[in-house]
């Protein structure tokens, strides 16, 4: 495991654990999701740059476009949740529990 590989794996797993374990706000969860996509972006571009694969260097841009899609959808859901539940705390999302 080379150091760049370790760095992006560590950031991805950090963001994933941050998302999975205790989150107070929905917005913080979305921030963690964006952090995951960001570490994936860095990983993808480093992979293509290190191996010098020219035709693969466009794929980080596609990844960034899709993560922008995800982020905007998440923010729209944030607005909808804030309107229907009154706040964006994840603890208030408890209408459907068993």
């Amino acid at each position: 495991m080379t150091p760049p590989h370790f760095a992006f794996s560590a950031t991805f797993i950090l963001a994933l654990t941050g998302l999975v374990f205790h989150r107070t706000h929905l917005l913080s969860a979305l921030l963690c999701l964006e952090g995951m996509m960001l570490s994936l972006f860095v990983a993808l571009s480093l992979w293509a740059l290190q191996l010098d694969i020219t035709s693969f260097l466009a794929s980080p841009l596609l990844l960034l476009a899709f993560s922008a899609c995800e982020a905007s959808t998440g923010l729209a859901l944030l607005a909808a949740t804030a309107r229907t539940h009154g706040s964006d705390r994840l603890q208030s999302l408890n209408l459907l529990q068993c």
Partner: protein
């Protein structure tokens, strides 16, 4: 919803799944999954009820996490082996990560907890899309991850069948029961995935047929709890006599279609010297059978001379087309004699 927007969304829903089907490269498969997730979100949130919004939020968070995990697994694979092809994933670490991410995406047992809550917040047609069409793309990816860690899939499958039976025992809400039954069926599929992928495919097709007819029946009766099932005979008498049979077919009783996949899977597992796993799976199917039996009891045996458990509904003419329900109901009841033909059809 505007019909043009609805058409766009449904088209992209199909496009995303098709993209995942057609791709052999992980990045394209990931894009297809993302388009799929994005396209179903407004369909889920279309009623703007707080429960629908909450279900949509939960669905979005889990699906986005699972997709990111999948891409992380394929990137790790690329860093370790330099390979982006789906079918050439050879390193065990990214393969395990990818199968766990796909298990989160389709709701297999240790990672299933979002599925009942999300399904509970939706209306029945969207729930039908969620529990049939949305499972296809992740399952094809899971099918293509061929050389895999065998014990992981068996553990996932066994816990899914067990928890899918156990969780549904105490439920009175039909959609939660259907979610747990979906988990249990997917557990059966995953259990046999590495030994006979064609059997997984056959099980998937039969599960889709049975789930389709179940959701359509409940949608026709407008029922979301067990109590409203008890008065469904007033609405459509023929369906209320066929629906218990269909539920028993979901549970997997012999003269019905649902017995076929369980039979073949148990035989295949026994052939692979996995008799303990086969026994455990068969015993946990009994748990599922219990709540299917409870549903059919409420539907068929609490009839007119007894005390009613709910108020009688108006006998309006149903607005739903009856042909899809008729076809899928027939298929989900009486396909068992066609077992040899179907296995020959799906053996690739």
């Amino acid at each position: 919803m505007n019909p043009y927007v609805l058409a766009t969304l449904l088209f992209s829903l199909g496009l995303g799944t098709t993209l995942t089907f057609a791709s052999s490269h992980w990045l394209l498969a990931w894009m297809g999954l993302e388009i799929n997730t994005l396209a179903i979100i407004p369909l889920m949130a279309q009623h703007n009820h707080p429960r629908a919004i909450e279900a949509t939020t939960k669905y979005f968070l889990t699906q986005a996490t699972a997709a990111a995990m999948l891409l992380f697994a394929s990137l790790t694979n690329a860093w370790l082996t330099g390979q982006w092809d789906i079918q050439l994933m050879s390193h065990p670490l990214p393969t395990t990560l990818a199968s766990l991410a796909l298990a989160l995406k389709i709701g297999l047992a240790p990672l299933h907890t979002w599925l009942p809550e999300v399904l509970q917040g939706l209306d029945l047609p969207t729930g039908l899309i969620l529990s049939t069409w949305q499972k296809l793309a992740p399952l094809t990816l899971l099918l293509q991850l061929q050389p895999m860690n065998s014990s992981l899939l068996i553990i996932l499958g066994l816990t899914s069948t067990l928890i899918g039976g156990w969780g549904g025992l105490n439920q009175t809400q039909l959609r939660k029961i259907l979610a747990y039954s979906s988990t249990a069926h997917l557990g059966w599929m995953v259990l046999v995935l590495q030994f006979a992928p064609s059997l997984t495919f056959l099980t998937l097709i039969i599960y889709l047929t049975m789930t389709f007819s179940t959701f359509l029946t409940f949608n026709l009766n407008n029922s979301t709890t067990i109590n409203t099932l008890a008065t469904s005979w007033a609405k459509a008498p023929v369906i209320s006599s066929l629906a218990p049979l269909m539920l028993l077919s979901l549970g997997g009783l012999p003269p019905l279609t649902g017995f076929m996949p369980k039979w073949l899977i148990l035989q295949e597992l026994t052939k692979q010297d996995l008799a303990p796993a086969a026994t455990l799976a068969a015993l946990s199917a009994l748990l599922s059978l219990y709540f299917y039996l409870r549903l059919s009891y409420a539907m068929a045996l609490t009839m007119a001379p007894n005390n009613l458990t709910g108020t009688l509904p108006w006998r309006l003419l149903p607005s739903q087309h009856s042909l899809p329900l008729a076809i899928s109901m027939t298929a989900s009841l009486s396909l068992l004699p066609l077992t040899p033909a179907l296995t020959a059809l799906f053996t690739l």
